[in-house]
Each structure stands twice: as C-alpha cells, then as structure tokens.
Symmetry: C2
Subunit: 328 residues, 2 copies
Amino acid sequence: MSITTNDIAKICQVSRTTVLRALNNQGRISEETKERILKTAKELGYRPDLLARGLVKGRTMYIGVVVFDVKNQYFAQMLSAIETEAQKQGYSVNITLHDKNKTKEIELIRKLADYHMDGLILSPVNEGEEFAHFLKNLGIPLVIIGNKVSDTLPFVGIQEKEAAKEAVEKIIKTGYEEVIFVCPPLGGIDEGNIFTHRERLAGFCDVIAANTKISSQILSNYDYIEEAKKIVKDSGKKTAFFCSGDIFALEIMKELKKIGMKTPRDYGIMGFDDIEFLNYITPRLSTIYNSVEEVSRTAVKLLIRQMQGESVSMNYFENYHIIDGETL
Amino acid sequence: MSITTNDIAKICQVSRTTVLRALNNQGRISEETKERILKTAKELGYRPDLLARGLVKGRTMYIGVVVFDVKNQYFAQMLSAIETEAQKQGYSVNITLHDKNKTKEIELIRKLADYHMDGLILSPVNEGEEFAHFLKNLGIPLVIIGNKVSDTLPFVGIQEKEAAKEAVEKIIKTGYEEVIFVCPPLGGIDEGNIFTHRERLAGFCDVIAANTKISSQILSNYDYIEEAKKIVKDSGKKTAFFCSGDIFALEIMKELKKIGMKTPRDYGIMGFDDIEFLNYITPRLSTIYNSVEEVSRTAVKLLIRQMQGESVSMNYFENYHIIDGETL
DNA sequence: TTGAAAGCGCTAACAA
DNA sequence: TTGTTAGCGCTTTCAA
C-alpha cells in the first residue's frame, strides 16, 4: 500500500538506484532526472521504510530506554531529559516500562536488542553478575543509570553514600539527638535492585558510628508511618527522619500532620531526590538535589560515544547538593 | 556478529526452512532434527531479527505512543496504564516525547509510522483539519486520547464540558458568590491543542450564564497567581477558583498560603484531573477524577480492534466523578 | 550519469 | 519430512 522506491522507479522510467541517488542526494546524477524523481516522490508521499533501512544498515538511530516507573517523578524527569538530549544528537528514543517486574524487564531489554536499538539506557530492578553477564552478552552499547549493576558496566549517577553522609551530618549539626533512616520495601513483584538505597544507608551508618551520642533507628517496613508516629510521640528526644526518597518523607509529613504533629516544630525530616513536585508542598522539604537531568544527559552522551566505538570508563558521577528547606 | 537462521542451518546441515520450522514449532518436522536444531539454536544464543521479521510480515506487534510531557503526572499515569494493557494484549509499546513542540510531534509520528508501528496512540498538541488529514494519510490505525483533533478520528476521553458544568454547579451550590476559571497559557513552543481546556471553559460559561447572580472571571494569563491574590484580598465576595488542571490549583494554594490566605477559610478552590500526587497535599484538593487509567485501557483496546480490521465509532467516553476534598 | 545485482534476515508458497 | 525459491524495501558495490 505504501509507496516504495520501486514504484517511483517505474513511474520515472529509471532504475531504483537512480531513485535512491536522487532521494539521498548522493552520487552523480543529472539535475533534471533528480528533479523529476524528487517531484514524483513528493507527489506520491514517499517515505523510506525504516525497518528495511535498519536491516541493511545494521543500525536504526534509536536508543532504547527501560525504566520501571514513570509515575515516580524522578523517572519522569529522567526520561524527559534523555529524550531531549537524544533528539539533539539525532537519535530517537524508545521508552518502555515494566512496573518493577524483573522478568518483564529482561524481556523488554531483549526485545529492544532484537529490534536493533543502537544502544540502551537502563535503570534496572535486576541486579547481580548473572544479569550483568546477560547485558554484556547482548553485544550492544549500554549505560546504567541510578541502580548500579556491576563495576564492569558503564554507570552514571551521583555519589549516593557521600550525599547521605553529608545529609546526616547536617541533621546532627542542626541539633537533632536521634536520626531515623527511612526506606520501606519498594513494592513491585520482587524486591529489586536497591543499590541507591543501600548506598544511602551505608552513608547513614557511617555517620551514626562516628557520633556515638546520637541515637538511631532504621525503618524499613511497610508500616513505617505508624512507627514514625510512635517515635515522634514517645521519644523524648529531638528526632529527625532521613528518608531515602522524597515520597517517603511526604507520606510521613502527611500522616503526622493528621495527628497534629508539625515539622520542624515537632520533628525534623529530610528527603532525597528533590523531585519537582516538592515545589507545591509546604513547608518546603529539605532534601538532596541529585542532578537527575545532568545524569541523564551524561548517560546519553556516554552511550553515543560508545556507539561511535570509543571505549569509556565505568563510573561517572554528577554533583549533588543539599537543599535547605524548612523541615529541619 | 549475531547468529542467524542461516548459521544454524549450516551447522545442523539442514535448510533454513527446516530451522524455521523447528524454531517456530510449526509444520511437520521430525522430533530428532527439531531437537538438534533447537539445541544448537540455544547454544548459540539465537534470537530472531525483529526488523527482518517486521519487514516481511508487515507488522511489528508494536504500538507507538506520542505525548508531550511526562513530568505532568496525568500523562505518567496514562503511559503506565497503556503499557500495562498493551503488554497484556501481546503488544510492546514505544513511547516518545516532544515537550510540546508541534513540529517535533509531527516528525515523531512520521517516524513511528515509518517504523511500521502497528498502531498509534496520540495525545497531540497539533490540531485542525490539516493535521487530521495528515494522520489519516498515514494509513495506520490510531486513537486520540485527551486532546481531540477531529470528529473523524477515534477519540477516547471524558465529557469534559459536562464534568466542568457539574463542578461549577457544585461550587455555586456550596455557597460561593464568585467563580473564577483558571487556565493559564500552557507553555511550550506554540499554544498547542487545548481542546480539553476549551471544553471545560465552555462548561463553566454555560453554568455562569444560567446563574446570573454569580460573578465570574477568567484568568488566562501567565500572572494568574498575582491576579488570584488580588481577587482574594479585594473582592468582598465569597470566591472560588475552578482550575483547568490540578497543578494550577496547587500553584494558587501555595502562593496564597504565603500571604496567609487559606482554603477553604478565605477562598474555595477546585482542580481537574485528580493526579495521584494530590494524596500528599493538605488540605485535600477538591477535583474531578477523570478516569485516566480507564481511558488509556480503552484506547489500547480500541486500537487493537482497529488493527484487527474492525471498524469503530469515533467517540468513547469514560466516567468521571467529582472528588469531595476539603477546599470548598 | 545510470543500471544491474547481491544481500540484510526473515517468511511463505510451492515442490519434492 | 524437508528443501527451493521468491520477495519484503532498502543499501552498496561494481560495471556500463
């Protein structure tokens, strides 16, 4: 149904090769035939078949992206930045989602590879060496963003642990006597890659270990909100929550507000990520800006360098910084 | 570099057709050769080339999706639902973004068509008959979601106008003497398709026309927040804002809070969309639930019916309902 | 300046 | 049960 170079060739009484030369504007060709061909091509609404081109060229000018959740604004910002940067560099982006399903994630990655994506950007829930091996076996350039899989795969992110340390130190310096690390299970079918959260916890623990007078606790259950309530009500100390993700902080603030507890009057709280939505929340949540846009842009650039055959390092870190809000 | 049916055929000493029969498990083939072929295929890590398959089959089992913004949670929820439903039906989804750039939008749609997406789901910023004509000319099934383009293209959404009417009526019934419709320019390179907002405005106007004692005003400038402040401070009346989108409502609430004005004490306010993020905002915003998930699922089903050759109607409306929050 | 031919990897109709 | 052949629409090399 759709028009091909063959059709044009027949109509213009020339060979397909000639048609191609006109269309792609390469090779020697007389102005006259070229004009004629281009005119009919336009009239007929010719469009090149990108599947065919991809098949023969071996590349598609497409970057595949796999993330698990787009309702989380962190990923929304990431996708938006990736798309913009990729388009700037002449690539299209194919985004796919899997809602934290590990098996589906692998299927999606495979399918993108089978479709000859020129490169992949992944923020995976799978982890471990087997998965890393699977990725390397795909034989196509890729970049991991956020959830590190292995030291042998190019990764872009921030120094999560350092950032967490700085945050906890700040909390302590502000005068809090007790710091609670909050990171509930992340939902989804299986637990998933929680590299970032592990790193943040490690940073937290480091600082706590170095400050023996500070009490601490780790909330990692689904009912972290109930526990948070108890802590604020019962603990006689000045308490602050350090949440591994802004959303958890917002949940706590919302629920504590219901029982009349306000931050920073009754407790301190800090998030992580600085998602755009925080702008609509009062009081302004203190958090850590994680440069998701920069990270995304770097990932695209790094991927393209690989696609051009360059060899690249395995770790790229963007800057982060603490956002002084009103909740400490 | 990657392994093809040809390679397997050579190794197994059979024809490519036989290999295919084994792989696709169709046609008569001896158990023994089949086993042999499948074994080597597995050993070599054979994967079918989807570009080649798509080229010859004329279909790719892919649905292309084009939206302009994923940071807006309305679209995030939409994409998530589309992806889930499509996967359930055996299709993959290719999501692309363009940040409200009309030209880019057309390019993206074209490219997806050139890549033989089996169908498209669009929520376009372009509008008008020329655009509708362009879409129909693509010759591939498609569904418009949210921003209606033309009565001649299948559309899924809600009855925006009716919903707006109901909302404004509710506001009036609650006792407000002045109702302000809020819909600032939507940003982006050009104005874009604002079908939904136009419809909502129409509903607003209808109700206002029928209630002559109610004062009204329309805020449609970038500085709607400043104007909103003035109105609440100066107007002696009981005033409510009806915002064509939750985000505008949140902006107003945030800024008015800064000058000590609170809802519902000092003014009433209502949003539109019921984005998930509202759960983190207090007081709970009154708004309209627009069934974005149902709309998305219907869009996918409708698209697939078209891809299977069925003819479909042009308008599908899902239910909406008013969410009674604490801001009226 | 133009054309012929081979091939990308797969499917599908027809033969043997 | 297996193989042969043609073809999807394009690119690319070589020849005219």
